[in-house]
Assembly symmetry: C2
Homo-oligomer: 143 residues x 2
């Protein structure tokens, strides 16, 4: 089945959209983020940790702490979040599953997929958090 990104990544994007929407420089606790965006807390915490390591999220320790965005929402693209969670190379493997596929020895789908992929990545790269948030007054992420 088709999947643009992992579940952990889906949760990260939801959390980021939430933080971007409420953000005024302040932080939110992991618990409140997870409740508001309806994501499983114990799983999401691990995702948040890796995002902190990647420099995409800032951890505020201590009482009244939590997480906040490191950069302004207009400087964070969807593609960045995906790569931060699923890895830099998530879109790189050969689409036909060949480990030997490359530009010099392409598989049958290689050039076709390369073109499609470029436009896909371009779209994801040119969409930042602030763009998404400004269309809606209220966060609309519900199961």
């Amino acid at each position: 089945m088709f999947r643009l990104y992992s579940k952990g990544c889906e949760y990260a994007i939801r959390a980021f959209l939430y933080l971007a929407a409420v953000e005024n420089g302040s932080n939110k606790t992991a618990q409140s983020i997870c409740r508001k965006t309806k994501i499983p807390e114990s799983f999401a915490r691990k995702v948040f940790q890796s995002l902190v390591r990647g420099g995409y999220l800032e951890a505020v320790p201590g009482n009244g702490g939590g997480y906040r965005l490191c950069r302004k929402p207009d400087k964070v693209s969807i593609l960045e979040i995906i790569k931060a969670v699923d890895g830099e190379k998530t879109f790189e493997p050969c689409i036909l599953g060949s480990s030997k596929c490359n530009c010099r020895k392409p598989c049958l789908l290689h050039s076709t997929w390369e073109e499609t992929k470029q436009s896909l990545l371009l779209n994801l790269e040119s969409t930042c958090l602030s763009e998404l948030v400004e269309f809606y007054e209220e966060i609309e992420i519900k199961r």
Copy 2:
């Protein structure tokens, strides 16, 4: 991690590309298709069966039988194969995992993803087997 389609679908496409390349109206046994395209036979057989049911592959029973394409390679798109194996709705679910997401109640990524998806599907739909095969003399699907 990103995945355009399932493993079963990957194998189906590899098998179709092989059949399109050797095709002159003749059929190939399941065994020879799997060996040539380096796909696991016991798993692929089940995929072939569902493709027969879907009308994408013709089963030739009896001794010297096997499978052959139902339609000419220039009439079969990559998108069709994907949908035949992974289901018609494989690209439909909300990208943010919301079951309530639709055009009237969109999630935050809805319209952005809708656009990106349309161009993705268009590319997959406009690419047929014959296009891919004619670029290569020899089938190049190796692990």
